[in-house]
């Protein structure tokens, strides 16, 4: 992340990556610039909260209590407030997740077309249960509600990549791609 991002789109950078570093420094260099750009787009600091949490998660992979406290300081909010907001949104991780966060849609469109088997196969392939991280820290599989691509079931999102039309027989290939 070296080149500069246009201020208009700094608040909309996808955040789940495989190369997460829980100890990454927060908001230095290019990220400091992004932070300032985000603030410049709103009439107050509070409004920057979701984009800034998102950026913190991009860097560190999850929102630890220390991260939350730091974000609160920077935006002149209380840590309790920030935690309460973060916990409202399913995409904010309040616990560490595996390097590959695998989200499987079980919404009605995907459910009608066999999402359940895809979930089962993914759990078997990763040796985990729903929401658990595999021992090697590589995978977390979660079930999510409609991902907004219902005509192309089953929809699976791995970090910030979306896979459409995933059938049980595609799971093996998908897992190979992730290694």
């Amino acid at each position: 992340m070296s080149e500069s991002i246009h201020p208009a789109v700094c608040s909309a950078q996808p955040s789940q990556r495989a190369d997460k570093n829980p100890d990454a420094p927060l908001f230095e260099g290019a990220y400091k610039e992004r932070f300032d750009h985000i603030l410049s787009r709103y009439p107050n600091k509070r409004a920057a909260l979701l984009p800034v949490l998102n950026m913190a998660q991009e860097l560190r992979g999850w929102l630890s209590p220390a991260t939350i406290t730091r974000v609160a300081e920077l935006l002149e909010l209380t840590p309790d407030y920030v935690r309460s907001v973060a916990s409202f949104y399913t995409m904010f991780q309040l616990r560490p997740v595996g390097r590959h966060l695998i989200q499987v849609c079980i919404g009605i469109g995907c459910d009608l077309c066999g999402a359940e088997e895809v979930v089962e196969d993914l759990l078997e392939a990763t040796g985990t249960r729903i929401g658990e991280t595999s021992r090697d820290g590589k995978y977390t599989v979660v079930e999510v509600e409609c991902l907004g691509a219902c005509g192309f079931p089953t929809v699976v999102q791995v970090n910030d990549k979306v896979y459409e039309n995933v059938k049980p027989e595609d799971v093996e290939g998908l897992m190979k791609e992730l290694d």
Partner: protein, 429 residues
């Protein structure tokens, strides 16, 4: 993936360039006539633009169908406070995936719509609130926004008109309720996406306490076409109460799922059987949800109606968001309804007791019926809970959650009874 299916019976206005990679970058868009409507709009007055949109009869495509021009006319004109436009790109209603396709294939169509609409309501800043899960779509949209700035369609003194507009893309973080317009405003302000009590309406007190118009992606994407070609042109399609064309996202048990754009007087049965190819070979259509999971379920013989707001309503359901979900005879209706209700139970923001408790209670009862452990009194109980959830809460999510349950029991009661009495599912394997 190439755009799956186009059908000669469609009326492709918004979706004309779906599937064309070259239409995504700004040059390709301009070659296809893009940004001409903006030039025309900037030469007219904001009130003229609002009038054209009023005359076109365009209705909001986010679900409620409120007349767009009328909504705009509620915005103050005195310039005392800054006005805002908030584009609702939170698309999360199960079965709905049309806004995603608009942004993915024709991001500039949406941006042009946002600029013209902002001009009409005298906004100086527009926010596109896009759902956080749309990771690949947001990259495409971001690129387009940067191009629009570089070409002078956004920023100061747009194309020498003296009109200034900033546009910011704002990523959500996973909350269906952020799609409800006041939930969206709270979320944009850095709060929990809890809906607000109305009034005040967003046009009075919206984002940051300022007058705000919230419009859906598809609504805004239709605006350039209307401004460029006129209200009468738009009214060549549809009915007098539901003019124009609409995208239907079609999913579930269909041979050709995908997005189809049809005039609003198109026949619903034709949409399902002709355009989407009907259910897979050897299967019978059992049920249809025409407008996203929060509208009443229809039986297969109720769907011979037109897809206008009033046509679907007369047939017993609602156009909603245009998210069509088809279920064939392999469907366990109890399971399908349980799945939809679990969604609402998960997404309820919890502010209202009837919604918070009602959604989880419905889900719990449906789970036991599905397992074959239903009780004699469960059906009346479900209907009773449903009745208590309607019309009593801050936002309509609570009503929405009860709709699939109540309509399914009314129309497919036998399937529920078979589960309860014989512990057996009526789905055909």
């Amino acid at each position: 993936m190439a755009y799956p299916h186009a059908h000669p019976r469609e009326a492709r206005v918004l979706s004309k360039h779906f599937g064309e990679k070259d239409a995504i970058p700004i040059d390709g868009w301009i070659e296809r006539g893009g940004y001409k409507a903006l030039d025309k709009a900037l030469a007219a007055s904001p009130d003229d633009i609002t009038q054209i949109v009023k005359d076109s009869g365009l209705r909001g495509r986010g679900g409620a169908g409120f007349p767009t021009g009328l909504k705009w006319s509620f915005m103050p004109k005195d310039g005392g406070k800054p006005n805002y436009l908030a584009c609702n790109a939170d698309e999360s209603e199960p079965g709905t995936f049309k806004d995603r396709e608009i942004m993915r294939w024709t991001p500039h169509q949406l941006i042009e719509g946002c600029i013209i609409s902002s001009y009409a309501i005298r906004a100086k800043h527009a926010y596109i609130y896009i759902r956080g899960e749309f990771v690949d779509v947001v990259r495409i949209l971001n690129q387009a926004v940067v191009e629009a700035y570089e070409r002078g369609y956004l920023g100061k003194n747009i194309k020498g008109s003296g009109y200034d507009l900033d546009l910011t893309v704002h990523l959500g973080a996973g909350a269906y309720i952020a799609g409800e317009e006041t939930g969206l405003l709270n979320s944009l302000e850095g709060r929990r996406a809890e809906p607000r009590i109305k009034p005040p309406f967003p046009a009075q007190r919206g984002a940051f306490g300022m007058p705000t118009t919230v419009n859906n992606v598809e609504t805004l994407a239709a605006v350039p076409h209307i401004v460029l070609n006129g209200a009468d042109w738009y009214r060549q399609w549809g009915t007098s109460k539901s003019p124009g064309t609409k995208l239907f996202s079609c999913c579930g048990h269909l041979q050709r799922p995908g997005n189809y754009e049809v005039p609003l007087d198109f026949n619903l049965r034709d949409l399902v059987f002709d355009l989407c190819g009907g259910p897979p070979k050897g299967r019978q259509l059992l049920a249809l949800i025409p407008g996203g999971s929060s509208v009443p379920i229809m039986t297969a013989d109720e769907i011979d109606c037109d897809v206008s707001y009033e046509g679907i309503e007369a047939a017993g359901s609602m156009l909603g968001s245009g998210g069509l979900i088809a279920m064939d005879d392999s469907t366990c209706m109890v399971r399908a309804v349980r799945r939809m209700v679990e969604f609402y139970a998960h997404e309820s923001c919890g502010q209202c007791t009837n919604c918070r408790e009602g959604t989880s209670w419905l889900a719990k009862i449906l789970r036991r019926i599905e397992r074959g452990q239903g009780r004699e009194e469960d059906l009346p109980l479900l209907l009773d809970i449903g009745a208590n959830m309607a019309g009593k809460t801050i936002c309509p999510l609570s009503d929405s959650a009860a709709v699939p349950v109540v309509s399914a029991i009314q129309k497919f009661g036998r399937e529920f009874e078979a589960h309860i009495q014989d512990g057996r599912c009526t789905a055909v394997n």
